[in-house]
Amino acid sequence: MSEARLDVAGVVVAFGGLKAVDDVSFVVAPGETFGIIGPNGAGKTTLLNAVSGLVPLQQGTVRLDGAELHGLRPDQRTARGVSRTFQAAEVFNEFRVRDYVSLGRLSGQRQSVVGAALRLPGIIRAERAERADVERLLATYGLSHIADEVLRELPYGVRKLVDILRALFGRPLVLLLDEPTSGTATSDRVALREVLQQAGQDGLTTVVVDHDVQFVSDLCDRLLVVDFGQELGTGAPAEVLARADVRAAYVGAE
C-alpha cells in the first residue's frame, strides 16, 4: 500500500500504566472514508490525538503521504493538511459562527500582528476575501442565517456541523472526525451525511470515529474496530460487524 494517504503503524499510547492505544495499525487510501468504532474508552479519541500530535507515541509511526509526522507539533500537522473536529462541541463555545469557521484557514493565513495593528491594505484585503469565502461556505450549507450567532447558543448538532465546516474551510488532505453524530438529532445526521458524502466525492480522505454503527457503515468503505486499545479487526462494514468477537465487544456493550 505505497499510495496510502494516512498510514498508522503499530501505534502505542500509554497514560501511566494504562495503554489507551495498544499496537494499532491502519491505512487509509486517498479519497477513502474510513471508520473507527469501539466501545466507550476504547481509545478512539486517543488514536486521533496521536495522529493530530496531541499525545506522544510510545511506539509506532504516523505517516502522511509517506512522510513521517513524528516530532511535528499539532499546528505543523494541520499545516500539512491533517485537520480534525472535536468530540466535545463546547470546546470553542465563545466564537460567533463566522469567526470560528474562518479559523479553519489559520494555517494558510498571513498572520501578522503588526499588519493588523497598522491595518495594512494587504492584510485587510486578505481578511475581506476570507470573510467572503466564509459567507459563501455558510451559504452553500444553508447556514447564512446563523453566521452571527454565538456557538454556545446553538443546538449541539449545529455546533458539530459548524465544527466540520471549520475543518473543511482549511481544505485539508485528511479530515479526522471525532463522533460527529453524538448528541445530534436524526435530521442533523442526514445533513451531516450529505456534507461528508459530498466532501468524499470531492476527493477528501476522511477518518470517522462514531458510536452510530449504522451511520459509519453507510458512510465508510472499511471499518476498524478497537476495544481496550487493541485492534479487533479491519474490513468492509458488513464483514466486520458479523464477527462474533466484534459483536461481543462492541455491539454487546451498546
Binding site: 499539532p74 499546528d75 489559520l106 459567507e135 442565517h145 452571527d148 471549520r166 474551510f169 481544505r171
Partner: protein, 364 residues
C-alpha cells in the same frame, strides 16, 4: 474545491446575514457613545486647571499600561507580575536619554518601545516555552532584578533618582500640563487604535481560541509559543512607553516608584475594569488614579470632625488597598466582566427595556 462549488450559490448570500440587527452592539470599533464620552472627558480635562490636567495625564499613562497588560492577561490568558519593572525600563531609558542628543522628543519614547519589546523577548522566551506558571515566575524575577539593579544603578549620587530633562521642540516646551496631557492622550489613542485592529483581525481570534482551549487551538493551527511571545513582546513594548511617559510627567525616575506593589495594583485594576474589552482596562486605570483622590476629598468633607478626617488622612493608603481588594472580590464573585461588563449589561438592559416599550405592537 469547496469554494468553486460554493460560487454557484447566490453571489452575495451573506449580505443580509452580516447586517447588524439595529440595537445590537457591534463588537468591532468604538460606538458613537464611546466617542461622545471620550470627547466630553477630553474637553473637561482640557478646560480644567493644572490639577485636572495632571490627573487626566496620569489616567492616560496608567491606561496605556493596563490596556497592554490586558493584552496578555485577557487575550493570551497569561499572568505577568512584572509590569512595573517594564515601566521602569521605559522610565530609566527616558531619563538617561533625555539629557543626551537622543533626547529629542519622541525619540526616547520610541527607544523605550524597542527596549520594552526586547526585554519582553528575553523574559518571554524562557517564560513561555513551558506551560503554566513559568511566565509568572520569570516576570516576578524580572521585578526583583529591576528593583535591585535600579537601586545599584542610582547609587548614592542619585539616591533620589535621575532627573528627566524636560522635552522641548525648539523653543516650544512639551512638559506643560496641557502639552503632556495631549501627548499622553494621543499615545493612548494610538495604542487603542493599534490594539483594536489586532483584536478584530486574525490575531485576536487566535488568542481567543487559545484562551478557550490551548491544545485545541494548536490543532486549529496556532503555534502556541509564537503567539504567546507575540502578545508578551507587544505588551511589554507598550508598557515601557507608559513608563517613558510616566518619567516625563514625574520629572524624576527612581526605582521605588516601580515596586511589585504597583505591578499587583495594575494587575488587579485590569481585572476590576474587565477583561476582554479595551474600555475595561481604561476604566481600571481611572480607578487607580481617582480612588486615592476621592479618599482625599472624603477626608476634606469630614473637616468638621477632625478625628475622622485625621484617621482618613492617615489611613488613606491602607483604605485604598482595602477598597481595591473589596472591588476585586466583588468582581470575582458577581461580575466576571468587571466594571465595564456591569455598565454594558445595565446599558443593554435599559436598551432592551426601551425596545420592548416601543415595539409592543406590530411585531412581525
Amino acid at each position: 474545491m469547496l469554494d468553486s462549488q460554493a460560487t454557484t450559490s447566490r453571489a452575495d448570500g451573506g449580505g443580509d446575514a452580516s447586517e447588524p440587527r439595529g440595537w445590537r452592539m457591534v463588537p468591532s470599533g468604538p460606538g458613537l457613545g464611546t466617542l461622545v464620552f471620550v470627547a466630553i472627558a477630553m474637553a473637561t480635562v482640557l478646560a480644567g486647571g493644572p490639577y485636572a490636567l495632571y490627573t487626566g495625564t496620569l489616567i492616560c499613562i496608567y491606561a496605556i499600561v493596563t490596556v497592554s497588560q490586558e493584552w496578555i492577561l485577557g487575550r493570551a490568558g497569561l499572568v505577568s507580575l512584572g509590569s512595573a519593572a517594564i515601566m521602569a525600563i521605559g522610565a530609566y531609558t527616558t531619563a538617561r536619554l533625555s539629557e543626551t542628543s537622543w533626547g529629542l522628543f519622541p525619540v526616547p519614547l520610541l527607544v523605550s518601545f524597542v527596549f520594552g519589546g526586547i526585554v519582553g523577548l528575553l523574559i518571554g522566551v524562557p517564560g513561555l516555552r513551558f506551560k503554566g506558571l513559568y511566565l509568572m515566575l520569570t516576570t516576578l524575577a524580572l521585578q526583583f532584578i529591576v528593583m535591585f539593579a535600579g537601586q545599584k544603578y542610582q547609587g548614592v549620587e542619585h539616591e533620589a533618582g535621575f532627573l528627566v530633562t524636560p522635552p522641548t521642540w525648539g523653543s516650544l516646551p512639551l512638559n506643560t500640563p496641557k502639552a503632556l496631557f495631549i501627548i499622553t492622550a494621543v499615545v493612548l489613542g494610538l495604542v487603542l487604535f493599534a490594539l483594536s485592529g489586532i483584536y478584530r483581525g486574525v490575531p485576536g481570534r487566535v488568542w481567543n481560541a487559545m484562551r478557550q482551549d490551548e491544545a485545541a487551538a494548536s490543532v486549529l493551527g496556532a503555534h502556541l509559543v509564537r503567539w504567546k511571545l507575540a502578545a508578551f513582546i507587544g505588551s511589554s513594548a507598550i508598557t515601557a512607553v507608559g513608563g517613558s511617559l510616566y518619567a516625563y510627567q514625574a520629572g524624576q525616575v527612581s526605582y521605588n516608584s516601580f515596586s511589585l506593589e504597583l505591578s499587583l495594583t495594575l494587575l488587579v485594576m485590569v481585572f476590576i475594569g474587565g477583561l476582554g474589552t479595551l474600555a475595561g482596562p481604561v476604566i481600571g486605570a481611572a480607578v487607580i488614579v481617582l480612588l486615592p483622590i476621592l479618599l482625599d476629598d472624603l477626608a476634606d468633607a469630614f473637616a468638621g470632625l477632625p478625628d475622622v478626617a485625621n484617621w482618613l488622612f492617615i489611613n488613606q493608603a491602607t483604605l485604598a488597598n482595602g477598597l481595591y481588594g473589596l472591588l476585586l472580590l466583588l468582581v470575582l464573585l458577581f461580575e466576571r466582566d468587571g466594571i465595564f461588563g456591569l455598565g454594558r449589561r445595565l446599558g443593554r438592559g435599559a436598551l432592551g427595556m426601551g425596545r420592548r416599550l416601543t415595539t409592543t405592537r406590530g411585531e412581525n
